[in-house]
Each structure stands twice: as C-alpha cells, then as structure tokens.
Point group: D2
Chain length 257, copies 4
C-alpha cells in the first residue's frame, strides 16, 4: 500500500484576454500543477503568473505540453512524425523551464495534455517522442502517465520515473482506459463515491470498471479537473478521507523514485 499520493491539476490554460481555470482556489488543495506551455493553451504571461502563484502557494510545477492547436485546445488527434513531436515537447518544456528559472524554481514533472496524452497512452511512437524529450531535457523529470500505458512501458525501458495517474471523476473500462466523455457513464459525479474509489485505487490498487471487473493499478497521483463543478469539494473530500486512512498528500518528488 502506498503511503503517499499526489494531487495534480491542469493549470495556466488561459490565453491573452481569455480566462479558464480557478488556480487561485485550487492551488490551495493540490500538490502539483501541470502548466500549459503555449501550444494548446497558455501564453508567456499566463505561464509566468501561474508559476508565481504555484511558488507562493507551495505547489510543485510541471510542463503540460500539447498539440499546436489552440483552436481545438489540443483535444483533437493530429498525426505528427515522431521526431517532430519530440521537438514540440522539448520546445514547450524548455519554454516553461525558462519561466520557472526566472522565478527560481525547478520543474518537477511533465504531463502531456489532451489528445497527446490519449494518443501516447496507446501509441508507442507518441510515447517515445514524449519520453525522449524528457530524457534529453532532464532525465530526472517525472512523467505523469496512466499505469499500463505505452508511456509507462517506454519510460520503464528508458529509466525515466513515472507517476501513475488516476482520474477521480471518471469511470474506467475493463481494459484500463477511460470511458469516453461522450458516453453516459463517463463521469463519477458523486463526490463521496469518487473519493472512496480514489482511496481504493491508491490503497488497494484496484478500480472497479463499468463492466464490474476489478482492474489492477498502481496510483501515485490523482487528477482533479479544474473545470469540474465539484473540483474544490472533491479535493477537500480526498484530503480528509486520505488523512483518516493514513495516506499523506505530498508532491511527486517526495516519494516517486
């Protein structure tokens, strides 16, 4: 059983005059922030602001690279050659590093965004592009990825640390993938249920799929979706329940080796 778990949230997804997210509130409850890097969302001012906020509120930061598709918020599949994708990730991680450097803090991790995350979950070429970028930029960065994903496999092979992620507000299929958002059972809306499922995933390594089967997982970090209406409530509920269960909420760097 894990003694620790991390709470992560996507952040810095505003752009220019456009605002998305509630970092000011959410950063009080999470331990790690995945900061958009200007491709699917975010701009240099938003990145700098978000890093400052994370620093002030004691949240660890990582890069949240995505596809070059602001109009689609990085949520649309794109066919990109592996070497080009590696460079897109390097570019974005480097850009965020620049901002973190300016604020005197270190990057902790990398978590791909949206369609990149989903494609690198199942495609070796996309997984290799992401892992290669981390390996080249800084092999100490932790990759946030699903347990059993291609990213997991590739990172293991290359010796890159992985933090396995659980989506607290989502239902899973028996193959370990998420129920797609457009299906009725996609979401776990009840906060208490979501909390208990998350606790079981972390402490017992088991997630009940929508088909009723137990999937075996290892979980190091729980994703709180900032745009969910229950985000704050869920984060608070998880913090309370995990404390009772003796599981510490700590940033990845404290316990992921």
């Amino acid at each position: 059983m894990s003694r620790y778990v991390d709470l992560n949230v996507d952040a810095g997804e505003s752009f220019g005059r456009y605002r998305i997210g509630r970092e000011e509130e959410l950063f009080k409850y999470v331990t790690s922030a995945n900061i958009a890097c200007g491709y699917h969302a975010g701009d240099p001012n938003v990145m700098r602001y978000t890093i400052r906020l994370a620093k002030k509120l004691g949240v660890e930061v990582g890069a949240h690279p995505g596809f070059p598709d602001l109009m689609g918020f990085g949520r649309r599949a794109m066919e990109i050659r592996k070497d080009e994708l590696e460079n897109y990730v390097l570019y974005q991680v480097g850009a965020l590093y620049g901002m973190a450097k300016a604020e005197g803090i270190e990057l902790q991790h990398v978590k791909p965004h949206g369609a990149l995350y989903n494609m690198a979950w199942v495609r070796t070429d996309y997984a290799e592009a992401v892992v290669a970028a981390i390996n080249l930029f800084n092999p100490e960065l932790i990759l946030i990825a699903p347990y059993g994903s291609r990213m997991h496999e590739v990172a293991d092979k290359w010796g890159i640390k992985v933090a396995f992620e659980y989506f607290a507000d989502r239902n899973y299929r028996s193959d370990g993938k998420l129920v797609p958002r457009n299906l009725p059972q996609a979401l776990v809306l009840d906060v208490e249920e979501a909390t208990e499922r998350a606790l079981r995933a972390v402490s017992e390594g088991k997630v009940k799929s929508v088909e009723g089967v137990d999937i075996e997982v290892i979980i190091n970090t729980i994703c709180i979706h900032g745009d969910s209406p229950h985000a704050i409530e869920l984060a608070m509920s998880i913090r309370r329940r995990f404390a009772e269960a003796g599981i510490g909420i700590k940033p990845l760097k404290v316990f992921v080796r």
Copy 2:
C-alpha cells in the same frame, strides 16, 4: 584596438515547409548564430536542426527572440507592455535552451530580432524587458546590441555583458543609427568597401556616416545578413582581411567579458 571580433548570422528562420537562409554554407564562415525561436520565425524542428548544424560546424548559438508576428516576420513595430515583453523573451530563450540542452550545448548569447531589436535600440522599456529576461534566465548570457543603444545602457547598469554589433552591409547616420532600408543609401553593396569599413570599425572604432562624419564605436561582432546576395563573399573577404590585420575571428564567449 580589439584583437578579436565575432561574425554573427541570423539563422533558423525557416518555418514548416518554408525555407529561408543558407545555414549549411554560412555556418562555415561565422562564429555565432542567432537562432529564431518560433515567434517571428522558426519552429521546433527548424530550431533543433539548426542547433545540430551549429554544433557540427563549431558555431556558437544564441537566442534570436522576436515579436509574435509570423505574418510580418517580426519586422513590424508592436506596442507591448514591458512585463509581457519580458515574458515573451523568456519564453523564447527557454524554448531554445530546451533544444540546446537536448543537443548537449550551451547558449552563448541573445540577440533580439527585427523590430524588437530596433525598438530596444531606442526605447528604455523595451531594452529593460530584454535585459531583465536575460538577467532572470541566465546572467552569463551575452547580449548582442548596438554600441550606444538603450540596450547597451541598460545592460551596463544591470551588469549584463554586451557585444557591440556592426552591420557590415549597412550605412550609418551620424547619430549612430542605420540608414533605413527604404532609403537609397541604406546598403553598402561593394564587398571590398564593406570589408574595409568593418575593419576600420573594429580596429579604429570609427564609422564614417553618410553625412561624412566619423562616429565613435566599439565593435565586438559583425553581422552578416544571410539573405544578402554577397553574404558568403563578404564573410570570406572579412576573414581574409582581418587575418592580414592580425584580428582573430572568434566567438563572443572567447573575448567578451
């Protein structure tokens, strides 16, 4: 009299399928390359390729940040708030750093591009944004800027190293600025004349303006415009003539303190 001078060239200004520049040839003759960072030109693949080429041919690399205006190639004046501009520069320098890190090399310098260079030449707020970004990211980076410019002043005040730049194919006004490109006297087209003027600028610290007045300058680096028809010829001519004059052609990091 200077014992050394650097030859710099703007590079990595291709984008996607679009090609600009002759780095493969020019990198044989120059000592420093200013690499576009994806705002006014360049993309992650172009950046990576250009850094690899520089590494292979022994050319030092620096960031060439510009305005976020690909359609105008960063050559159009834009009014940008100082804190935002600082972040734009940080973003671009960081992104290029990511690429250099992947190739195991260090950045040597920063040279603003186009309208950003021209505005930071004369405006304190723009100069401060550029210098602040360098200071925050890595105060050992050398700023390439005109002698007597606002960038020069601000860098001196903040203790950032400056390499003073001379444009070998351009005529100067008595106030030390370039004759604008749209005026007939803008260019020095004759290679021999351009070479002798460059030698005088470096060795005697004097440039004859179009009004016939000698301007006092210090010159550490000579810019070769890759899109000039005589670029290679000029670089070769400068190398030959400077060797005769006992002035070494070396990258900035060798001699700029």
Copy 3:
C-alpha cells in the same frame, strides 16, 4: 434632431474553448452586432454561432476586423503597411460574409476593432485601408466610426456611408477623443448619467468633455460594451429613456444614408 439611433455591441469574441461575451442576453437589447472575424478574436464556429443567434434574435450583423494579434486581443498598436492592412480587412470581411451567406443574411456594416479602430481614428493611412476594403468589397456597407475621425473624412471623400458612434460608458476629451482607459475619469459608471449623456449626444449633438466643454457631434449608433458589468442595465435604460424622448432604436440600415 435624429429620429433614430442604433445600439451596437461587439460580439463573437470567443475562441475555441474560450468564452467571452454574453450575446445570448445582449442580443435582446441591441440592433447591430459587430462580429469578430478570427484575427483578434473569434473562430469560424464562433462566427457561425453568433450569426445564427443574431438572425434568430433579429440583430443586424457587421464585420469587426482587427489586427492579427490574438494574444493581445487586437488591442496593441501594430505598424502595418496600408496595402497589407487593406487586405487584412478584406480577408476578414470576406470570411464573415461567407458565414452570413451560409445563413442567408446580408452584412450591414463594418466596425474596426480595438487598436485598429483607434489608429484609423487618427491616421489617414489606416483609415484609407479600412475604407478601401469596404469600397472594394461592397460600397453599400456602412462604416461605424467616430464623428470627426480620419475614417469619417476618408469615407466622406470616397462616398462610403458612415454611422457615427458614441461610447455610452466613456468620458470624452475636448478634442473629441476618449479619455484613455488607464485614466481615472475614463468611465461613466452611473447608468442614469450615461443614459442622459447618450440622449443629449443623439438629440442635441452635444457631449460634455471632462474639461467641461461641449463637443459638437452627430451620433447614429451607441456602443454598449458587453464586458461592462452594467451592459444590460444600460441598454434597457437607454431603450426606455429614448422611447420617452421619441427616438426610435433601429438598425443602421433603416436610417443611415
């Protein structure tokens, strides 16, 4: 005294997943909508949606072209050559025309956005670019511009119809320009005061400047800023008060010749 006035609002300024504006509410109160065209804001889906909404709620539509600067929301000055600017406006008006055509409606007007509006207010080259684009695309389109502006002058000279615009929530200087947003007196926050000032501007052609001088104006349309907290209240107040005063609220095409 005018018998009619138009109420206009900027619209369609969302982008991708990003939302700005309250068209669903505001379109109940206004007669004309200025729809962003994908340069400073807006995307094809937002444009189509906004045009459908305008059609459904009986609001006339016009193009709201801006600078190619999504990151700055078209609010930053850019130096653009006149012929290029003309093409940028043509491009955006054409794109919006495509959307309107798909919905079976006609464009009524063109109102430049943000920094383009402000620069074309005072610079002849920018004003000429805007008016030339209208003249080439469809000389029956009405230009929304300030009374006494360069756009007014150029449109008059070229025989393009102009609707003179009043900003109900802004204070004016004695030279007829707006008090800049960063100054304390920029805004007229009191709804009743704003309503009475608007009525006086339309019915008497007089606006009291912050210096206490009466400026002479002609006003055909009143801009309601959708992002103002009092937008709906102000629109309702103007509708009520103008009805009492016997001034009809009608779209520009009804009364601008």
Copy 4:
C-alpha cells in the same frame, strides 16, 4: 471521350516573407488555380497578389481550403468535427471570395488541400463538410475531387458539380487511390510517360495501376504540382500532345455541368 480538359495548379501558398511556388511562370500554362486561404498556407497579401496575377494571365481561380495547421502545411491528418470543418471551409472560401470581389472576378471552384483532400476522399463526414460548405456558400461552385471518392458521391447526392481530377505525376493503385509519396513507385517522373498516361486517362478513361490493372475513371482536370521539377515541361508537353489529339485545354467553367 472528353473534348476538353482543365489544367489546375495549387497556388498562393507563400506566407509573409516565405515564398513557395512559381505562379508567375505556371499561370502561363494552366487554366485554373487553387488558391490557399490562410489556414495551411497563404495570407491576405499573397491571396490578393495571386488573384491579380490569375486575372492578368486569364487563369480561373478557386479556393484551396486546408486544415488550420500552418506548421504542418495542412498535410497532417486532424480529427475535426463535421460542423466545425464545414465552418473552416466556409471561412476560407469566404475570405478568398472577398479578395476576388476586390479584383472584380468570380470564384470558379473549390479544391480541398492536402490532408483534407485525402481524408475527404475516403471519409463521408469530411466529404459532407466540404460539400455542405459549397452548397451553403454558392452551389454553382465546382468541386475538384477524385472520381469515385466520397466527395464525388456526396456532391452527386447534393447536386453539386464535380470536376474529376487526375494527378499527372503520380502512380495509382488498383483501388483508385494514389501510391503514397513515401513509396518508391509514387511518382511518374518521365514527362513523356506522364503525358501519355494523362492523355489515356482523359480520352479513354483508363489508368494503368502499379499492379498492372486498368482503373476506369472520368477526368476533367489534370493537376500540375508546382513544386515538381518538371512542372513547366509537363504542362507544355500536355498542351502539345492534347492539341494533337484534339482535346481542348479549357477552364472547368467552360465544360463542367
């Protein structure tokens, strides 16, 4: 047997300072130009210039809409919802219409670009998006598409005119698709062979596949790739040979019903 055929070329694919294409030469030999609309390539200045050139040299123009992916030149598959894709096409066709209107000419056709063309060849949703956009904007516009493609089917069903396209420099598979560019047999490099194959395709409606099977086709327009080294030579050769064979080279609008 067809009495006429059209020669088309992709055009207006430069962007900002970046140059691609040889319209000045090629427009002397072709009858129709597919002009990029600012998404995968092209910008308002390039579009205007290209339309002027086409007008001057008597070439008919059409829209060449692509994916919003300048970095990938519209050559990468993207998953886009049908309604959004319809709007992207409308936007681009409208924008080009604006430019054509300014020059007093009419659009003749629409030819999707790159990955959009390839996906709409085989996917009904993409084909429907393209045809719907044409139908809504102007149902008299001719769609350039492959014989037997989904675009062909959908256009037929909706009553939109289609011009069937043959790629003179490409080899075909027995299923009627092109041999992918990355395979060795992709290209027909010999000008004489390419000419004879094109003549047979147009006059007999037969194309020999790489597997040696004759495919049945109808051909109304032959694509000349401007970036092919033999483009001009091939266009001249086709003109000469087709004249001998009594087939007129005419723009689509002359003969496509």
